[in-house]
Amino acid sequence: MAQKAIREADGMHILATRLYDYGDAMCELEDRFLSVSSGAELAALRGEHPWLAQVPLVVKPDQLIKRRGKNGLILTGATVDQAIAWIDDKTRGAVTIHGRFDDDGRPLDEGTTGHLRHFLVEPHMTHDPADECYLAIVSNRDGDEILYHHRGGVDVGDVDAEAARMQVPIGETPTRAQIARALLVDTPQGKRACTAGFIEALFKLYVDMNFAYLEINPLVVAGGKVTPLDLAAKLDSTADFESAAKWGDLEFPTPFGREPSPEEAYVEELDAKTGASLKLTVLNPEGRVWTMVAGGGASVIFADTITDLGFMDEMANYGEYSGDPSEEFTYLYAKTVLDLMTRTQHPDGKVLLIGGGIANFTDVAKTFKGIIRALREYRERLQAYGVRVYVRRGGPNYREGLRMMRQLGEELGVPIEVYGPETHMTKIVSIALKAG
């Protein structure tokens, strides 16, 4: 759902192959963007793409990473052999990427660690840095805003403050003249026509292909031609049914550094198998506080409350189940959480919050059945790891659901405290955390 980032290679490919469908784009862009995951994969493409051996190359990771230059992750002017060696080197182990740097290029944050698995390989274009510009189109409530700055590149500075802006109301298309008037006042006369032509075509493509965000920096304008050198883009994935054919074969990658643990991957798999929603993110496997919350909105609020009450470091996971999953899927999901939370001892014991708001039409007792089955199965481990369970839920048949939970507590010899809609939704968070 929603706005999703795409790989640079896919974005460039779209521009190279589609832009001229939307007018004379004044653009010089050959479709020479290769997406590879290893040196060997690049080596294998040599025969199919003879240009690899003929022109100097640029190689950069293509995993929605910002500040690749400052992180030392752009190789320029390389031969294909150098490119292969560089990719091999970068994929050998984990890499840490920083988001903020001081003026001397030293990182200012602890960074995100992960593996590099996608690289973009393209011809290296030499250009005069003075020809670098900045261009972005941003979707907003009233339409789309075009941001243009006649100076671009790595040190573009505060674009928000300095760029010229043009708000295009929804449903309208700006002419070249309007674009030139609104955005290109500071652009040298000789570059205005081609830049306006490029922006006009790009904007039409952006609208027609349901882009939600597009940033090109730098955009090189020289010799009457416009060439995008670096691109970040998001598509509106809900428009898939309208635009998928034009998008071609592309995937929406997950951000760098978020590699699912086996349990997270397993829940993703379960999620894909059911029409319902099952989500699990492990934040701190050693944490004391585990949640199993029904509903997307409620699950965020439970995590919020744990955070707001000062237990962020103890919050072990974020997760939710919603959309009426079957008893079997609820059982498998609950089992995954119970297994994770009964692996390491905590001196104060552990807390499991089975939370949720007042369901609309989901039968509460029915969904509890899967959870109860898992709790029964983990009885001994729940006891061994000092797990206390807190339940809060409302909605259809909730009285029966809560009764089943209460009875289960007695049956298992595991403390289970049970609350209904008469208790404020997140009250079990403070009850649980203040109890121990």
Binding site: I170, A212, T238, G297, D304, N360, F361
Partner: protein
């Protein structure tokens, strides 16, 4: 309560009527249940638009009474017929929601459209919103459950079950105006409001998309201009800038009523990388969009912001009590409650009532995980290779007969399957087929000839021979008795076959029965009878109908008590065997004639003797 026409900031009143777009009978019923407990005198749904169906009516309850809600194919026609309707609740899918919403906005009478679908492309949502703004209309959604005006009007499935609606006091108005992004949490919010105040006046969930048709501040500003609303409650979330519009409105004094507000998503800082929470719009880009920043900005602008969601209810209560103390709110007495009769299906499910069933079935059950033939799950039928004979034995005789018997059933079906195109059944089927009739009509036309003269001998022979045998008649006495009565013995006699030219089908059946059956007394008896009849004329042999019928009776008598076996024969089981078997042939003849493209058959004049006088 103010009527819409008295206050333009009201979207709904107790006379508001809506169109439901897409055939949503369940949501319609839920709206009417709400209407009834709210004491409305008319249903809030005027018509259903079903663009893929045809005009008609939906039958729903309004309290105890059933009413008909018209269904139209076209929105335009519905609008002509119901000029008073000013709300459309759009249940169209994400593919078509935008187009139908635009169509509704074009109708002058429509003021408000609620768009339920999740996943409407953003550009379409923005076009809808722009059009609504230009026309001064309101869109609620997309990606929302809708909203509710307590005691007046409920959008679709808002509020959950009718029990929850009454428990959260949504059937009568209070003093609180609520707006949130999330629809899923609105029930929880209404419950919180009911527990801590005199209840909800109106609640709207604007939907979780990045570009909702109407915003938090749009509704808060509306509530500001509705005098009956004394306090505002709002639930925002991280991502997007909608909450800053509320900040701005507070700063500019455009919102003056007390506002209790919380922005969810404070936990985002616990995540190392960007997280997309449940809603499309709930995604962080920049610190300004964080929940912490929004909560701080709201607090600074004068909203009542709790320290965590945990205190949300407390802040709502404190604010409410302050307004009661200073006389702004005067709690109204609870109105008399109108209760909805329990739904029959629900009452049955919960074991509260019982009712004698109109139908009984003892042979199969399709309700469970697996289809059951008697006590056999369908998979067993295949695993144990029970065949058509096994299935027939379970469904007809309510027991799984031993293999020799099920094989005999199959033999009987094979033998009766066809007897050439000239016999009356096949002939009728062929004539009907050639008259252009469909398979069922053609086959039935053939089947209708089955009776005492055609195919009836299977049943007749079994009955006649059993009767004689059971009365203890010797074969000779039986033959004599039949002769005296002038009745042909069923199952005896053949057109061409004779003692010297035996019917091989009969030979096979006889041999099988004598070898495998535990008892073949009737067959033995029949063979004695045959000796007597063939002595008179050598084509008075036991024919194939007789052999099957009599052997079948023997088989049944071997496998079940006499009375039960006789009952099955009396019920027509043997006739059924012939009908079933011969249907195979009749279908064959139908397909054959169709394949050969045979034209209409007309019987030749010269084959009819016209004797008019």
């Amino acid at each position: 309560m103010a009527l819409v026409k008295e206050n333009p900031f009201e979207l709904f009143d107790a006379t508001t009527q809506a169109f439901i777009y897409n055939n949503q009978t369940v949501a319609t019923q839920r709206m009417l249940d709400f209407d009834y407990v709210s004491g409305r005198s008319t249903p809030s749904v005027a018509a259903i638009i079903n663009p893929t169906g045809s005009d008609g009516f939906a039958k729903v309850f309004f309290g105890r009474r059933e009413v008909l809600i018209p269904i139209y194919r076209s929105l335009e026609r519905a609008a002509e017929q119901h000029p008073g309707v000013d709300v459309m609740i759009n249940f169209a899918s994400f593919r078509s929601a935008a187009a139908s919403t635009m169509e509704a906005l074009d109708l002058p009478q429509i003021r408000t459209v609620a768009v339920i679908a999740e996943g409407v492309p953003e550009r379409r949502s923005k076009l809808m919103a722009a059009k609504a703004r230009a026309l001064g209309k309101t869109i609620i959604g997309p990606a929302t459950v809708g909203g509710i005006k307590a005691g007046c009007f409920k959008i679709g499935n808002t509020g959950g079950t009718i029990e929850n609606i009454v428990e959260s006091k949504l059937h009568r108005p209070g003093s609180v105006g609520f707006v949130s992004k999330s629809g899923g949490l609105s029930n929880e919010a209404y419950n919180t409001i009911a527990m801590n105040t005199d209840g909800l006046y109106e609640g709207i969930a604007i939907g979780g998309d990045a570009f909702a048709g109407s915003t938090l501040v749009d509704h808060l500003l509306r509530y500001e201009r509705i005098p009956e609303i004394k306090m505002l409650v709002c639930l925002g979330e991280l991502g997007g800038a909608g909450e800053y519009e509320v900040v701005e409105a507070l700063e500019q004094g455009r919102i003056s009523k007390p506002l209790v507000m919380w922005v969810t998503g404070t936990c985002a800082k616990a995540f190392k990388t960007e997280v997309q929470f449940g809603h499309a719009g709930a995604k962080l880009s920049g610190d300004r969009e964080s929940a912490d920043a929004k909560n701080a900005a709201l607090r600074a602008a004068g909203a009542i912001v709790p320290d965590s969601y945990d205190d949300y209810g407390d802040k709502i209560r404190e604010t409410y009590e302050r307004l009661v103390a200073d006389g702004t709110i005067v709690p109204a007495p609870e109105p008399e409650e109108r209760s909805i009769p329990l739904d029959f299906a629900k009452a049955v499910k919960e074991g509260m009532i019982r009712k004698p069933a109109s139908f009984i079935s003892t042979i199969s059950d399709d309700r469970g995980e697996e289809l059951m033939y008697g006590d056999l799950p369908i998979t067993q039928v295949f695993e144990r290779e029970l065949g058509v004979g096994g299935v027939l034995s379970v469904l007809w005789f309510k027991r799984l007969l031993p293999a020799y018997a099920t094989k005999f059933i199959e033999m009987a079906l094979m033998v009766t399957a066809d007897h050439g195109p000239a016999v009356s059944g096949a002939h009728n089927t062929i004539v009907a087929t050639r008259a252009g009739k469909d398979l069922v009509s053609s086959v039935v036309s053939g089947m209708l000839t089955i009776g005492p003269r055609f195919g009836g001998a299977v049943d007749g022979a079994a009955q006649m021979f059993s009767d004689a045998y059971d009365r203890g008649l010797t074969p000779q006495q039986f033959v004599d008795e039949m002769k005296r009565k002038g009745v042909n013995i069923q199952g005896i006699g053949h057109r061409v076959k004779s003692v010297h030219n035996p019917d091989l089908r009969v030979s096979i059946i006889k041999a099988y029965a004598l070898e495998h059956f535990r008892s073949s007394a009737l067959l033995a008896y029949a063979l004695e009878v045959e000796k007597i009849t063939t002595a008179k004329r050598n084509n008075l042999i036991l024919n194939v109908d007789g052999a099957i019928g009599i052997a079948f009776a023997d088989m049944l008598r071997s496998e079940m008590p006499r009375e039960e076996a006789d009952r099955y024969v009396a019920l027509g089981a043997l006739n059924g065997l012939f009908v079933l078997g011969r249907t195979i042939g009749l279908i064959g003849h139908h397909l054959d004639q169709k394949r050969l493209k045979q034209g209409l058959y007309r019987h030749p004049w010269d084959d009819i003797a016209y004797l008019l006088d």
